[in-house]
């Protein structure tokens, strides 16, 4: 490595140029996907198939993770519970934790790994085996055939899975709470749940689901679509897609909390 390569100005310049290039290419990618909306006869049937794969295929893992998360939240609540606090607070704690944070974020991270990795690998393989070039060569848009169906399917199904995760997490939290805290009754739990619950909390959870869905769909599709040659290129694309999506989900989580909850 030369001394020039270590020059901070060069490194900074390279990072800025790479970031701007990627941002530009991502914008074009999103623009081309939006343009493909007109070809609805092509993408609608494919989107339904993808939606089925995401929804049914991810349901089990989402239920398992949500159930354990709700249960662990209840166990921690019982461990930290102070006798000076009213017991219905347990219901508040579990419901608000699950709806505002744990349900959407964990669902997002699970789907980033399960769906995002799969799509990045699929599209990357299609790129390196010239299947995407083949579509182009036939005068067909890869965006209406491959990209838009995945984005639409994700944007529909991720919020649905988020709601499922919320419900399962709360029910598991209730059952675990009843088991861990003999003094807690379902009535107390419901009282706590309703007392501090605002309808906006549910909307917030779904809004997060939509925001995460965009990250889970657009980033892996973009990274896979632009995969470099060979098996190594597909492997790198898959890893990059999962890492980038996970980081963006956490970033969006903080951003949405700041924007929507601070007020």
């Amino acid at each position: 490595m030369t001394v020039q390569a270590l020059d901070p100005r060069r490194v900074a310049g390279k990072i800025i140029l790479t970031s701007l290039t990627q941002a530009g290419r991502l914008s074009l990618f999103v623009g081309e996907s939006a343009r493909a909306v007109a070809e609805w006869k092509i993408w609608v049937p494919r989107a339904m198939t993808e939606a089925y794969h995401i929804g049914v295929g991810s349901l089990f893992i989402v239920i398992v993770v949500s159930a354990f998360t709700g249960a662990v939240t209840a166990f921690q609540a019982s461990y930290q519970f102070q006798a000076s606090l009213p017991i219905y607070i347990v219901g508040t704690l579990i419901v608000e934790s699950v709806i505002l944070e744990l349900g959407p974020v964990l669902t997002g991270l699970i789907l980033a790994g399960r769906v995002g990795a799969r799509w990045a690998a699929e599209l990357g393989t299609m790129r390196v085996t010239e299947q995407i070039d083949a579509l182009d060569s036939l005068g067909r848009s890869p965006y209406s055939h491959l990209i838009l169906p995945r984005i639409v399917a994700g944007v529909v199904m991720v919020p649905v899975l988020t709601v499922v995760s919320d419900v399962v997490g709360i029910v598991a939290g209730l059952l675990a709470g009843l088991n861990a805290m003999p003094l807690l009754t379902p009535t107390d739990f419901m009282q706590g749940a309703i007392y501090y619950y605002r309808p906006f909390d549910g909307y917030y959870s779904v809004i997060k689901g939509f925001a995460f869905a965009l990250a889970i769909t657009v980033i892996p599709c973009y990274v896979g679509y632009n995969a470099e040659q060979g098996a190594e290129g597909v492997g790198k694309a898959t890893t990059r897609a999962v890492v980038a999506t996970s980081v963006v989900i956490l970033f969006l989580d903080a951003l949405l909390a700041k924007i929507l909850l601070s007020s």
Binding site: T129, E130, Q131, L138, G139
Partner: protein, 250 residues
């Protein structure tokens, strides 16, 4: 007619095409020969607009491929069938659906009866049984995948066929079958073909004219007889190397 003039293409610091001038006339079959990695496939992809050259002109039917708008590029591509090196079949859909995608006319694509008939016809043209249509690409051998790729390329009745290494990776018997298929399809369909290959024997068998691409430039264009008679040192070196390799393989 396909016309390339002064085409240059570099990937990073690696210059693949320096200055390519290349012509294909109506109805003829031209083989683009050259060692691996000399930019033959890149040349082919610039013709159909899959790779944008850094400089130069690419004309198809006197239309500059790289100044066409979106609709024009789509229309131009619909007149060209591209046979990919490894078939490039979509492995999540059946052979029928793969070939049906080649029906570039949306009305024909949407007419299931027409599509079924056309798929069977295309399979017949590439010597495959109609039952193959029901199979998934993963169930096919390498040679069959190539033939399905050809069937997809001809499904839309293109005016031009671009063949990217049609015989690479095949045993000599299957390579001969594909060579015979190229000749037969050119005759039966009346298409204009560009065949990219490093197989000299196959190129001489199928082509009306041969062009040799070496070190980013077309070294020679001519009939197979002119090619063999050429005393150009690069042509001689390429032919000698092929002969040596053939002996080694034998």
């Amino acid at each position: 007619m396909i016309h390339l003039e002064g085409v240059r293409k570099a990937f990073g610091s690696q210059v693949v095409l320096k200055d390519v001038d290349f012509d294909v006339k109506e109805g003829e079959t031209v083989a683009l020969l050259g060692p691996s990695g000399t930019g033959k496939s890149v040349t082919l992809k610039t013709i159909i607009g899959l790779i944008r050259p850094d400089a130069g002109t690419v004309l198809v039917d006197e239309e500059n491929v790289w100044t066409l708008d979106r609709a024009g590029l789509k229309q131009m591509r619909q007149g060209i069938g591209y046979v990919f090196q490894y078939g490039a079949l979509f492995d999540s859909i059946s052979v029928f659906e793969n070939i049906r995608l080649g029906l570039t006319d949306e009305t024909q694509y949407g007419d299931l009866k027409f599509a079924e008939d056309r798929v069977v016809e295309c399979l017949r043209l590439v010597n495959l049984a109609p039952e193959v249509a029901k199979k998934m690409p993963g169930e096919l051998s390498g040679g069959m995948k190539k033939r399905v790729g050809i069937a997809r390329a001809i499904a839309g009745r293109p005016k031009y066929l671009l063949w990217d290494e049609p015989t690479s990776g095949l045993d000599p018997m299957n390579a001969d079958i594909i060579d015979a298929l190229i000749t037969r399809l050119d005759d039966e369909l009346g298409v204009t073909s560009v065949v990219v290959t490093h197989d000299v024997r196959g190129a001489f068998r199928v082509a009306d004219r041969v062009a040799l691409l070496m070190e980013g430039e077309i070294v020679l264009q001519g009939t197979p007889a002119e090619f063999i008679a050429s005393d150009h040192p690069k042509v001689r070196a390429f032919l000698e190397r092929d002969r040596d390799t053939s002996h080694f393989a034998a």
